[in-house]
Symmetry: C2
Subunit: 392 residues, 2 copies
Amino acid sequence: MNNPFAKRFDGVAGSAIRDIFKLLNVPGMISFAGGNPSDAALENELIAEISRDVLLRDGKKLLQYGATEGWPPYRAETARFLREEIGIAVEESQLLPTAGSTQAIDLLLKALIDEGDTVLVEGPSFLGTLQAMKLYGANTVSAPMDEDGLVLDRLEDAIRRHKPKLLYTVPNFQNPTGVTLASDRRRAIAAMAEQYNFIVAEDDPYRGLRYHGAPRPSIFSFDETDRVVYLTSFSKLISPGLRVGAAVTRDADLLRKLTVGKQSTDVHTPGITQAIVAEYLGRGLLAPHIGRICDRYRVQLSHMLDALDAFPEGVRATRPEGGLFVWVELPAGYDAVKLLPKAVEKGVAYVPGTHFYAGGGHENTLRLNFSNSEPHVIDKGMDILKTVVKEG
Amino acid sequence: MNNPFAKRFDGVAGSAIRDIFKLLNVPGMISFAGGNPSDAALENELIAEISRDVLLRDGKKLLQYGATEGWPPYRAETARFLREEIGIAVEESQLLPTAGSTQAIDLLLKALIDEGDTVLVEGPSFLGTLQAMKLYGANTVSAPMDEDGLVLDRLEDAIRRHKPKLLYTVPNFQNPTGVTLASDRRRAIAAMAEQYNFIVAEDDPYRGLRYHGAPRPSIFSFDETDRVVYLTSFSKLISPGLRVGAAVTRDADLLRKLTVGKQSTDVHTPGITQAIVAEYLGRGLLAPHIGRICDRYRVQLSHMLDALDAFPEGVRATRPEGGLFVWVELPAGYDAVKLLPKAVEKGVAYVPGTHFYAGGGHENTLRLNFSNSEPHVIDKGMDILKTVVKEG
C-alpha cells in the first residue's frame, strides 16, 4: 500500500517512548518510567462486586446506547466530587465524561485549534499532550517554569508575542516535574486569560495525591469569564484502566462543541465504567481510599528523595508535595538519553526529559516515577541509577 | 467567552438529529428512530457475572494502564471470531481494539485525510460517519446505490473524477437502507481499490444479524493488496454500551498510524470492557446468542414489512435480509421532515432520510428501525405512520 498518510502524522510517532514503555514488561526491570499507580492501590475485588451490583441493578441501561452527555449518576456524583472535594462550583450539566483527561485534551484541541494556532504549554510538559497537539497541527510554544510553576512575566511575554488560543497547564504536582503552581500565579493566570482572551486547560489529575502541605485553589475558581476548562480524572485515584474522567466548563457553547466532537469519536464513554465510578463515589469510598494511597506514596516519595540526596554533587531534583513524579537535572554535559541503555542494562528504566520539551533539548534531565515501585525497590533502583550517573 | 472555535466545526452540529433522539425518552413514544438493540437482547445478569469473574481473576491488570494495542485475550478472541465467524484470515497483531466502529472510522480519517481530500460514501450513508468526515474537512462525495448496493459503473465514474483516498461502505444490511452489497460487486470494489489506489473502509457491524439468505464474502477477503480495512463491532451483537469493536488491517504502517492516533485520543479501550467481550467470546456464548436475537429480529422485521405492504400506493420500501433498518421512499412531493412533527404528535418517531445524504435532498425518504420495538408495538406504530402518510 503506497497511499500517503495525512500530513498531521508528519514527524509524529515517538518510537523512543514506546520502546521505553515496552521495557516495563521485561521481568525484573525496575521501572521509574511509567505513570502507573501502584498495583496495590487497584481494588479489583471491591470493583468486581461494584461492577456486578451496578449491572444487576441498571444493566439494561448500562449495556444500551447511552447519551454522549453521560450516565446521569456519574454526572451527578462527579459534580458533587468537584464541588465538595475540589471546591469548584459546578452543576452536572457543565461537565462531559471523557476517557481520562487524555480524551478531554483531544476534544478541546478539536474544538479550538486550527492548523497553526498557538498553544502555550509549560516547559517541560506532558509528552502525551504534546503529541496530541502535533496531530492537530498546533504551534506549540513553551513557557518556562521555576519551583513555583509557570513564571508570570515570561508567560505574559509569550502570550503577547504568540497570541495563544489555549494555555495547557498541570497546576498540581505537574507531569513531568512534580512542581505545584503557586496560588497567586493561579489568580494571575485566570486574569490573563480574560485580558488576552484565551482558554486555559487546567489539567488536574493528581490533585488528590497530596502528601505534604495545603491544597491550593484551582485556577477555575478564580475564573470569572468562563475561560478556564477544568479537566479531572479518576485514573490516578481509582483506576487508569477504567478510562474515566471529565471536562468541566461553564461555557455552554464550548461544552456543546466538546460533546459533538466526542459523539463522532466514541459516541459515549462506556456505561459500565461510568457506573462503577459513580457507585464508588456514591458509597463514599474515595476519601478513605485516597487516604490509604497517599500514606503509601508519601513513603515511596520520601525513599526516592532520600536516595537522590546521595547522588553526586550537581544533581538537582524537585521536591514535590504530591503526585507521581520527581524531575532530575544532571549537571550540564550529562545526557539522559545516552545513559538510558546503560541504566536498562543494569535493570532500571526512566524517561529522558528531552521528550517532555516541545522543542527538544534539555538532554541532562529525566523523569522518575515513584508510585509504581515498593520502597525497597526504589532503594535498589536508585542505587543502580546513582552508579550509572557516577559512571557517566 | 468570544474565542472562535476551530473551523472544522463550521456547519457541524446536526441539532435536528439530536432533537429527534431526545424524543426516545418521551414516555410512550414508539421509536423507529434509533439504532438500538432490543433491551431483551442485553444480557445484564450474565454480563454482571462475567464482569465480576474477570475482575476477580485479572483485575489488577484490567484496572491498570493497558497497551493501546489492547488486552491480549481480547485481541486473540476477536481474531478467532474474525477467522471462524467472518471468514477473514487475520492474526491478532493485525487488529486494534476501538470504541465501536465509530472510533475506528475516526482513527482512519485521522490517519488518512487531509483537509479537502475526497472520501466516497454510499448515497445515502450513515450520518454519524458523515459528521466525522466533516470534522476532518473531507470532501465527501456520494456514489449511488440500487437494491444490490453501490452501482459499479457509477462508482468507477466517481473514482475517476474525484480520486478518493477512501471509500466508506457498509456492505451488509446497510445503515440506513438495509441493502446488502452483491458478492460480485465486492470483488470488483477490491479490484478497484488496487487499480485506483484508495483505501476501503468496510464497516460491518450488522453482519451477524442475518435473518434470510446466505452470508456473502467480505470485501476484505477479495483484497490482495492490503487496501481494505475491516471494521467490526460487538455493539449490535453483545452490547452497544460496552463500546467495543476493532479495526483490522494487514497494512502494518496503517495499523501503526491508527494506534498512535488512538494513543493520544483515549490511550486505550478500557480493560474491563475488552475483558468482558473476550470472556463472552471465549465461553462460546456468541453463536447461541446471535441465534436467539436473530429469531427475535426476524419476526420484528416481518411485522414492519407486512405493515409497509399496506401503505398507500407509491410508497416503496427496501426488503433487508438482516440488520436493524428498513428504508422507505414516499411518493415524490412528500416531505418526511415536515411529516415528522405530525408523527411525533401521534406518538411515533423516525429519522428523515435527508440527514443521511452528504448533500441533503431526498426529502421523501425516511429510515425505520425495527430492532428496538416488540412486534405489537411495531404494528401499532406503523398503523399510526400509515395514517400520517395518508394525511400527507
